[in-house]
Amino acid sequence: APSLKIGGLFAVTGPAAFLGEPERNTAMMVVSEINRAGGIRGQKLELVVYDTAGDATKAVQLANKLIKSDRVMAIIGPSTTGESMAVIPVAERGRVPLISCAAGIKITEPLKKWVFKTAQNDSLAVIRIYEHLKKQRLQRVALLTVSDGFGASGREQLKAQAARYGIRIVADDTYGPKDTDMTSQLTKIRGLKPDAIICWGTNPGPAVITKNARQLGIKTPLFMSHGVSSKKYIQLAGKAAEGVKLPSGRVIVADQLPASDPQKRSLIAFVKGYERYYKAEGDHFGGHAWDAVMLLKGAFERGATTPAAVRDQLENTRQFHGIGGSFTFTSRDHAGLGKDAFVLVEVRKGDWAIVK
């Protein structure tokens, strides 16, 4: 039987490699596991992966290539919101389902016929933090976001949701993705005496910020985004990270979860597998790709044999317990997750602990 061909577009190199690399690794791992277990309904799954280097132009070219030369049934990725937005018209025009691994809410809102996503919406992470702040009666919040796609989209959500939780944003600062010192922003923030500081970024910026905050003697509670929810962050920030809280998928605390958690099986399988294949810690970015491949697998198992059928079958996904959460796609929701996709965790003694 001919193989089922799917494509992957990941930012394996370039500034977003921290996303793209685990995603590609995971996708390749899952596909080979599936094939080892006999494929899907007797057919092998074939994955064609291209590196977009985080560049929207390249992503568009490669999406074209996947559709036109490789004739894939579905595309997983790209890794970042920007690239995803660039690729969407290509997928729509080419009538091939796209399962983006990026978090931007714009990707699936408004709804696009051929576009799905597995990364939790930023808004869910924001809500997780804000609910906590509300409970703790912390109202005056300072934002420090990175000026790239990830930070920009987080910043938008942080500002948009604030009012609903009675939160006042007293500072709205940014820093560059390659900046090496953020004491200026923090000094300014310190002068404003906020109740909490929320930083939205991906490594290494947040680690630098954590260290800078300690240097400046800032005692204000510090919140990070899910962008740094991996051991790496703790390693980089060292002792300064102690007490920092952030919303995260369940991957990093998989072993702390109660056995009753419906995601636990998937999580353990993913973490163990990644450890075995790559001798490294699987993170929730890889999880996006894991979910995407498994969602496609579900669609194929339900009998899809054409891109259009894959798309239709994706919409029939119900309660798939993946890494990012439990997915239910419908014809009106292509993001598929509820706010319980995130838990709030805290750094305690150099490790993650769930905040109850």
């Binding site: 090496t180 004491t183 000094t187 400046l216 060292g238 300064a240």
Partner: protein, 299 residues
């Protein structure tokens, strides 16, 4: 409760101090640029990669060979210097038509190559390096510094003084400068131009590596840190009029302080733009660099 103005003052002090220490880093990297420029006329776009190599190699020696920091540093500097030497021998020297632009492309290619190899060898992760002497902040007025900042400032100072002395007061230093201005005439007074070029790559890659090592505890390091640091160092060097002395330091510090003040007082998003606008203005008013003497072109 302190009053508002002293708050303001503390803040500005902190901005300035932060800017100073970032600026010192830029300066150190900038001097690496100027050294090569001053002895060969080449703008070495690969300079940032030697900065990266410094940090990454130190980590490599610490993590893989389990060396202590004090032993890893010289090893790292040695290896980075060796890389600089090889780069000159294999890429710069064989050039048949060494026009400035061809050299720029060579160094761009070299930087891509070095970065690529490092990525394959050490992966894409960011790593941190322990500070040389702890992380306990030192209070200075209302502002704070880290011990590492003092290391940076101190080492930068030593290097500048050494440079100034070498390039302006020793015959070898003057010979190196002569090479860039007129390599044919340099040969005619008996200077081995090729050796001087090699030598300039050796010292600047060593200096880049040192810069990379002393900043790594603050900035973290990864295979691609060289790009941004290199760019900033390049700017510092040009503001300083491509001198290998004090002017480049002032250039770097100015850039650092402007960024820092811009981020603190005006807008953190536009801080780089603010810095660049001011630099552009400086450039337009004093095209010879801050301290450069007007280089009269005569006919």
């Amino acid at each position: 409760m302190r009053n508002g103005t002293s708050m303001q003052f503390d803040q500005i002090l902190q901005y300035t101090l932060s800017g100073l220490s970032t600026g010192a880093i830029y300066a150190l990297i900038g001097i690496g640029f100027s050294i090569i420029y001053n002895s060969t006329g080449i703008i070495n776009f690969a300079q940032g990669e030697f900065v990266m190599l410094g940090g990454m190699l130190t980590l490599f020696f610490i993590n893989l060979l389990q060396l202590p920091l004090w032993a890893a540093i010289p090893c790292a500097v040695f290896c980075a210097t060796l890389a600089g030497l090889l780069f000159e021998r294999l890429a710069i020297r064989p050039l048949r038509r060494p026009t400035p632009l061809n050299l720029v492309i060579i160094t761009i290619g070299g930087s891509i190559l070095i970065r690529g190899i490092s990525m394959l060898l050490w992966g894409k992760d960011t790593h941190s390096l322990a500070s040389f002497s702890g992380d306990d902040p030192i209070a200075l007025g209302g502002a704070t510094l880290l011990p590492q900042h003092l290391w940076i400032l101190g080492i930068t100072l030593v290097i500048i003084i050494a440079n100034k002395f070498f390039f302006y007061h020793t015959i070898s230093g003057k010979a190196m400068r002569a090479c860039s201005y007129n390599s044919r005439a340099a040969g005619l007074v008996g200077i081995d131009v090729r050796r001087m070029v090699l030598f300039s790559f050796v010292i600047s890659s060593a200096m880049g590596a040192v810069a990379g090592i002393i900043v790594a505890p603050l900035t973290m390091t990864s295979y691609d840190v060289g790009v941004m640091l290199g760019l900033k160092g390049f700017c510092a060097a040009i503001i300083g009029g491509m001198s290998s002395g004090m002017a480049t330091v002032v250039g770097g510090v100015l850039l650092g302080v402007l960024e820092s003040l811009g981020a603190g007082l005006v807008s953190s998003g536009y801080k780089d733009a603010i810095a660049f606008i001011i630099l552009l203005l400086i450039l337009l008013i004093r095209p010879q660099g801050l301290f450069g003497k007007a280089e009269a072109e005569r006919v």
